[in-house]
Amino acid sequence: MREPVLNVNNLGIRFGGLQALDDFNIHVNNNEIVGLIGPNGAGKTTVFNLLTNVYAPSRGSINIEGVNTMGSRTHGVTKAGMSRTFQNIRLFKNLSVIDNVKIALHNGIRYSFLESVFRLPSYWKQEKKATEKAMELLSRFDLDRHADSIASGLPYGAQRRLEIVRALATDPKILLLDEPAAGMNPSETAELMANIRKIRDDFHVAIILIEHDMSLVMGICERILVLNYGLIIASGTPEQIKNDPAVIEAYLGQQRGE
């Protein structure tokens, strides 16, 4: 039995009178790829925002490798080992591609303000290391030739890849991908699918992904959770989900007649 890296119990949040998410439980094992699907407005992105503490959950518990991250700030969650991408890409648009990655390496670089002002050897050494690390990550995703371009100038697909690189630079144990295939054509989606598997294998991370593209979800997820109106209505393997009547109803509506 693999040890879960992420344990989430009874997570919930209210926005005023709306229970946006309730009684959400998820346990993710190391190296697992879990899909999170559901109709628009089901609360999928809310789950990510709660896990990373962009919103403070009203109740529940979140545990990353035994570390309780409830109530810690977003950067604390990232430090504990969970990083994410965003549904509508949030790059540091006016900065260079390599700086986007080096920003995410922040916690891996250790030199003080004074060491950097006086440009002591530790500054040069650590900066060199960070640049090398960033270039290595970029080259894995075929972005190294764009290293010095401004992030907003990249083509759409490359921007999505850069966001993933940035998330990986924080050295996560769990990677949250929010609609990574949004706006991609079928061949790009197929490439992404291969990439996601590779990320899992190369970086030994667990991946939770929100996606509307069913071919992608069914193709790579080992397990799928279906949300509707803030509640988990089904969970299981892709095969089970495909044939689950509750899921079919949520997506297509009830069959009339009988």
Binding site: T78, E127, A130
Partner: protein, 331 residues
């Protein structure tokens, strides 16, 4: 590539140091020989601490991406702290003055943290209003305390500020802020400007770095205040009002938010401009305002945008340009 002459960082440092020394040498000689009269030299010194003020505000406005409107408040705190220090002690000027400036800076930085912690929870217009309020509070408190001299202000400071030490501190400010920007701390500050949520998600403690940038910005404003106090040798609380903050902000915006060279040029230009326009007498404020309006219409990102000057790179480019026609001739 053969053409890249100043590629190594070491040679760039040497080049920059040489350029700074040359600039200092030329200006100093001009003052000593009387080519620049006392009035012009005084103007140059005013430009010097305006450069420090603009560059330090640019850290908070251009690089951190906030809009603080209380920079004059930090300047006044630094001015009073350093003035009270030199007035209270009898020490050799060479020891006392640098110490006074650093103390002025540190006290201003403490105020930066105190004001930054609550203010930086807000952003945009709200931050502008709250910092404006704090700036005014500082001024009014100084006006009403007895040890700051109240409305009479402080006087009797020794005239420690001269062209040399203002120049040195302007260079230090530029050096510290430009090296800060090109470090992990600076990248964190830039990330906050670009996207705060993404910065947090990338593991950057945004509250810490916002406060940090604010404190560094306030520190140098305090140093500039100290230089100001020992240049005019009289402190009047009414000079540190809202208009002074706006004046500094205008320099930053005009030069370009996020461009250090822009702040330097704008601070220098806007110090000189009102003097050059003296012959227009009462119309000079109109000309001044008109200029700002025109720049904002035709180049809203400021004169330099986010461009940052690198002497090494400029010289390299120049060499490449000079060499290009030669190559054609040879082929």
């Amino acid at each position: 590539m053969m053409n890249i002459r100043f590629k190594s960082t070491k040679s760039r440092y040497i080049l920059n140091a040489a350029a700074v020394l040359a600039l200092y040498g030329v200006l100093y000689a001009m003052i000593e020989n009387g080519i620049l009269n006392r009035y012009a030299a005084g103007l140059l010194m005013t430009a010097g601490y305006n450069i420090i003020l603009a560059v330090s505000l640019n850290l908070a406005a251009g690089f951190l991406g906030q809009l603080p409107l209380g920079h004059a408040g930090f300047m006044s705190v630094g001015a009073y702290a350093s003035a009270l220090f030199t007035l209270g002690l009898e020490m050799d000027g060479a020891v006392e003055f640098p110490l006074a400036l650093i103390i002025g800076g540190l006290v201003a930085a403490v105020f930066g943290v105190l004001i930054g912690l609550p203010a930086l929870r807000l952003s945009g217009d709200y931050l502008a209003i709250i910092t404006l309020g704090f700036g005014e509070i500082i001024r009014v408190v100084i006006l009403n305390l007895s040890f700051t001299g109240g409305a009479f202000g402080l006087q009797g400071m020794k005239r420690y500020s001269n062209f040399t030490n203002i120049f040195i501190f302007a260079v230090i400010t530029l050096f510290v802020i430009s090296t800060l920007i090109k470090s992990r701390h600076g990248r964190a500050i830039l990330a906050i400007r670009e996207d705060e949520i993404a910065a947090e998600a990338s593991g950057i403690p945004t509250t810490y770095y916002k406060t940090f940038a604010f404190a560094v910005s306030a520190f140098f404003a305090g140093v500039a205040g100290g230089l100001y106090a020992h240049h005019l040798c009289i402190l009047d609380p009414s000079t540190f009002g809202f208009m002074k903050s706006v004046e500094i902000l205008v320099m930053v915006v005009l030069g370009g938010m996020g461009s250090l060279i822009g702040s330097v040029v704008a601070a220098f230009g806007l110090t000189l401009l009102p003097e050059l326009l003296r012959e227009f007498a009462q119309y000079r404020i109109i000309v001044y305002s008109l200029l700002l309006v025109l720049v904002m219409i035709f180049k809203p990102s400021g004169l330099f945008g986010r461009y940052d000057f690198s002497l090494g790179k400029t010289v390299d480019d120049l060499f490449i340009k000079l060499r290009a026609p030669n190559k054609k001739g040879g082929a």
